[in-house]
Symmetry: C2
Subunit: 441 residues, 2 copies
């Protein structure tokens, strides 16, 4: 990697991220009120500068159209007065979230006068790399400030004018407030604009504490493979729905349709449906009719194709994230076979079962290794807002926490603080060792 | 890496770890009673087979002496009836620890009949690679079983006979209990014996969920750099003690002596002492006398050498983990300079300040980025047992949790379980969207 990035880019960028790091150390100590005041100032400035932001976005849209970018991308890129209102409301939503910093998770006397605390604290500086959506700038800046972290942002090149306009409004709002009453330094949020800078920050494990990539599977996997910085996110979202022998078939159809079609490009949409052989002959014709009505292409295993006339699914279909109106179907003879298939091909994101048998559901939910295991509901519920977290920084398929939809808690860590009065360990070992009291306070 | 490991080793090992993985899935669902019964059976078997274990250890000791291994290593390797008793008591200590599995961290109604839970669950299979200490086998096996995880162990080659004897006692104890009443499968614990196997498991990110390396800095760094599996642990432990201008000097001496000499090879021992210039002339002669009495070699910056006659410290001393009776000393002119030095050279492990000024202590403890920040006490308290965790799986200097001394909580993750009655997301979007209740239960 290092030979792809010039030394000068690296040095300049290090210095500038160092400024964000220093600003973040001060931010970590600010009160909730000071952080919320900064967020309100940002919201007001975004309202006042709406015209400038929309004009910059028009420029990006014109370029995108001239370059014939895909229409889905252009839709995500586009800002209008309504979307801007939503963006600003999102900043104010973060004001209302509980401050995640300073939470005392442990408070324990180890011995008289020797007191241990475990307090939540910010991670430091977070790098967020995203594609097209310019509204990500305000959302991430707001979450970063609330959680006491500096944020380094890099948007997609197609959104560069919009992102620069928004970042500049945020900077000016923070600068004006800081000049007036101190508080959050404008240096806590920084926008990068070049690919060389993105490559460079992946090497800065001394300056950046967490990388959150938002984008295609390939993009996320590239980041995971090319940095020593912890990465919060997920590459694949190959989710399954298993229709058990004891399923309510109407419910199964409704859940299958929602899980596939409600937003097919989402990571929590299903890619494969597993169907128990004992109900396949009854269920599959109903499924075929329902999916065809919604324009979904079905691809089936050999046994499925003997029941309904659909395209064949090959081995590669079982690990494919279509992000589209395509669904693979496989017939299995048992719960165990369903679990084995999911264990082999799933990406530990969200896995669901439809069954009226609670014992079967229990086995499924215990034995499946995934961030989310669902019973009789759509996989599309896997989302921080739907879980009631108020905000989502991403969905993690890591095994170690934070896992699944991650709210503000993904942006904090903790520190142990121990305060004594000259306490030394030598007094607690050997023949006349003092005993610890280990009394929770 | 892969060309260092033959295909056949890789395939055989994968199959055998797969057996541990399957055993771990069953283990994850067992009650605390079933897991504790297995631990008690192991403790009893260790008592009954003490002679066999000690005989195997004698063989390792003879080989170690013949190979002229360092005496510190031989001391760690050596088992005697007393150490064996301690090992067995350690297994029974784990029986008394709270079961970390099944803890309901979130219980929330998202809407009528749609209930979200977040439950703690095992990670799956953990790989622990350690050097010399054969007692690690029982400790890790016990922690693994209690936390519902399969464990793959690899001890140092110098301890191979001891480790195999202990692993075989554990296997037989579990096998006998399993034949009698079911419960914990003997396959949950597996001992590897070759370096080729160790290299191979680093590549098995589908089969192993966490690697815990215990050993030298170099060894830990090698593992961190050569696997995609999460690593819990720390390479360096470069800890500092800062003696502030407002320090009680007697207390400062006592804490400095304890932090350096109580166990110099420990990761939480200090390597560098920072001294405020305003008290250096008073403090350093006292420190010199106290450290010389305990045979500690002092190395000082230029200014330190003008006050006391000691060897010079060079740039490389500031980032050195001596693991020995050597201490580097640097004079600083301010709290800020002390913090800047620690930020540059520290390893985010444990950092301490001695001061009677609570405002100064507060700034130090907020601004230093480390797993542990201490005020007026020895850095040697950074330890899971001293914190009252009952057991320690390691000390992590990662920024993301778990951080610092890690008890059983480092061996668990969580899963979101959502149970509905046919709930679909389409009902919660659009014009007639139902609202979520988000009511904690």
């Amino acid at each position: 990697m290092s030979n792809q990035v010039s030394n000068q880019v690296f040095i300049n960028l290090s210095e500038s991220i160092q400024r964000t790091r220093i600003a973040a150390i001060a931010l970590a100590k600010l009160s909730s009120d000071a952080k919320n005041a900064a967020l309100e100032a940002i919201a007001v400035a975004l309202e006042q500068q709406a015209e400038i932001i929309l004009a910059a976005n028009q420029k990006d849209l014109a370029d995108a159209n001239a370059n014939q970018l895909p229409s889905a991308l252009i839709a995500r890129l586009k800002l209008d007065p309504n979307k801007l209102k939503g963006m600003i409301a999102g900043v104010r939503d973060v004001i209302r979230l509980d401050d995640p910093i300073g939470d005392r998770q442990i408070h324990r006397e180890l011995d008289a006068g020797l007191v241990l605390e475990r307090l939540s604290c910010p991670l430091g500086v977070i790098g967020v790399i995203f594609e097209s959506r310019p509204d990500a700038v305000t959302q991430i800046a707001a979450l970063g400030i609330k959680s006491g972290n500096g944020v380094i942002l890099k948007g997609g090149s197609e959104a560069i004018n919009s992102c620069e306009a928004i970042a500049s409004v945020i900077y000016q709002a923070l600068e004006a407030l800081f000049a007036k009453q101190g508080g959050v330094s404008p240096n806590v949020v920084q926008l990068l604009t070049t690919r060389a800078e993105t490559l460079a920050i992946l090497q800065m494990d001394k300056l950046i504490d967490l990388i959150i990539p938002r984008g295609s599977n390939q993009f996320v996997r590239y980041i995971q493979d090319n940095t020593h910085i912890p990465v919060l996110g997920h590459a694949d979202g190959v989710c399954h729905l298993y229709i058990d022998v004891a399923a309510d078939l109407d419910q199964a159809i409704a859940i299958a349709i929602d899980s596939k079609t409600q937003y097919p490009a989402a990571c929590n949409a299903i890619e494969t449906m597993l169907v128990h052989s004992a109900i396949a002959a009854n269920f599959l014709p109903l499924a075929l009719a329902a999916f065809q009505e919604r324009g979904v292409e079905l691809r089936g295993c050999d046994r499925t194709q003997k029941i309904i006339a659909i395209n064949p699914a090959t081995e590669s279909d079982w690990s494919m994230e279509y992000c589209d109106l395509i669904l693979a179907i496989k017939i299995v003879d048992s719960l165990e076979e369903a679990i084995a298939h999911i264990t082999t091909y799933g990406s530990k994101h969200t896995e669901a079962i439809v069954t009226e048998d609670p014992a079967i559901a229990d086995i499924f939910m215990s034995d499946i290794d995934a961030a989310a295991v669902y019973h009789n509901c759509s996989t599309r519920f896997a989302d921080g807002f739907r879980y009631g977290f108020g905000a989502e920084v991403g969905i993690s398929t890591n095994k170690m926490p934070p896992r699944g939809p991650v709210g503000l808690e993904g942006l904090v860590t903790y520190k142990y603080r121990l305060v004594g009065h000259g306490h030394i360990v030598a007094d607690y070992v050997g023949a006349n060792a003092k005993a610890f009291t280990h009394r929770d306070l």
